[in-house]
Amino acid sequence: MTCEETKRLFADYWSQSLSAEDEIALEEHLGGCDACRTESDRLGALWNDLTRLPVEEPGPSLRTRFYDLLRGAGSHPAPARKPQMIWRIAAGVALLIGGGLAGYSLRPQDPELGQLRKEVSSMRQLVALSLLQQQSASERLRGVSWAYRAEPTDSEVLGKLLEAVNGDPNVNVRLAAVDALHAFGSSTAARSKVLGSLEMQDAPLVQVAIIDLLVDLKERDAEPELRRLAGNVSADAGVRQRAQWALERLE
């Protein structure tokens, strides 16, 4: 094998994609050719070093911008107030996405609309679930606000919201999650889980919020736990007061 032919095999050699016989031939040549062997060593070392370079990670705004775009594409015309969002996107593209769905709103009798609604809600679910896993508390707050708009029968979102109430490290996120749970009142499974959340919650603000939720859901099964809280001298005074009030409301 000539030096020329050997060099052509280097790329495969470094990426370990050489065939067995090519590899033998290459190593044979390197054994006898100093110039090629030193080059192989030096460049091979450099090739390895390349992966040691620190890896660039995108900032959180990359994801935010992308999901804002999807949200704009998937949302129905705003009913009451419209949150102002700044789009860093060429107007032309916004039209491309928005213009497509404007067509739907003009024909509410369209049978495809039901299907579209289902798909939009599954997309919302996707966004909510993705945001809820973020490291940043502010992003998780947004995840909860997306979950707010999910279908009341969406068990995956419900599960994630309950997880957030029970385990999110940030009290504010837990509060927001309790708020979002109001939409799931019709599900009996949800209500017993909410009661379970009250039992394991330790942040007073969140306890108060859950108690309010249980009253809203008219959950009579909560009475034993509420009685326990109201009578527990080591519980927060505000929580006890609210538990007492809740017992009166539920009668």
């Binding site: 620190p54 660039e56 990670e57 900032g59 959180p60 705004s61 935010t64 911008r65 804002d68 009451a80 107030r81 419209k82 949150p83 102002q84 969002m85 700044i86 940043s136 508390a137 502010s138 707050l141 947004r142 606000s145 940030n170 009290v171 504010n172 996120v173 509060l175 927001a176 708020d179 942040a203 007073p204 603000l205 108060v208 309010d212 927060d236 005074a237 505000g238 007061q241 609210r242 007492q244 009030w245």
Partner: protein, 269 residues
Amino acid sequence: MRKTILIATGLSALAWAQEPEKITMPFSNPAAPHKVNVDVFSGSVTVKGYEGKDVLVEYSGGGFPGPRRRAQEPAPTGMHRIGGNRAFDVSESSNTVTVKAGGPWGSDVTIQTAVDTSVTVTTLNGRQISIDNISGEIEANNTNGTVNITNASGAVVAHSMNGRVVASLNRVPPDKMMSFSTMNGTVDVTLPADAKATFKMRADNGDIFSDFDVKLEAQSAPQVVEEKDRKGNTRRRVRTDGTQTGSINGGGPEMQFTTFNGRIVIHKK
């Protein structure tokens, strides 16, 4: 002669603290997003944004158990004070600098970091958390004590169980949600006069004040409630069930304000 043992492994330094300890910790890649996480068992935390790239951490622990402000007696010649159970640890990994200060008798941690750092501060029995001049994301959690945030330009999520939550923002990012909450205390937030935002406000036992022109949405009907106060007397209170929603300057990203015992005040800058 006894010597203090300072164990430094690579980028982590575990110090049996004397006073005051100063540590400089660089980020692996200052050009990429970077974070500072502070976890303090008891004591106050101050974080300030500055022009440098590295994280400067200054730690001064109290001495042996006793009155906090007792003056430290000078160490005898040739001797070093050996700290008790005051673990103080600063480490860096994947562009996050973590500062941990344990120890039950209070420590004061002062941190300087680049203005665009994202900062998370949690204290268990903390006194005050102060964060100034940060444009990254701020997360502050205090248990017994005030949270005081000034000159913030990024998203703020702040909570204290017993204490005031005070925040002053130089700008409201258009695409971030914020939340301010406390069980017992005032929530006091200052925003630029032209800020666009949507408020969700809830003060169970307190009023809501603002010098902004807040457009309120219709809320659920208030109810009259009879409660027993601490002395066992019955009193009547008008209770608005749930949250009030309003917007300023046409509305914008959502901000949540929650307090159980206390008021909410939203200032115009």
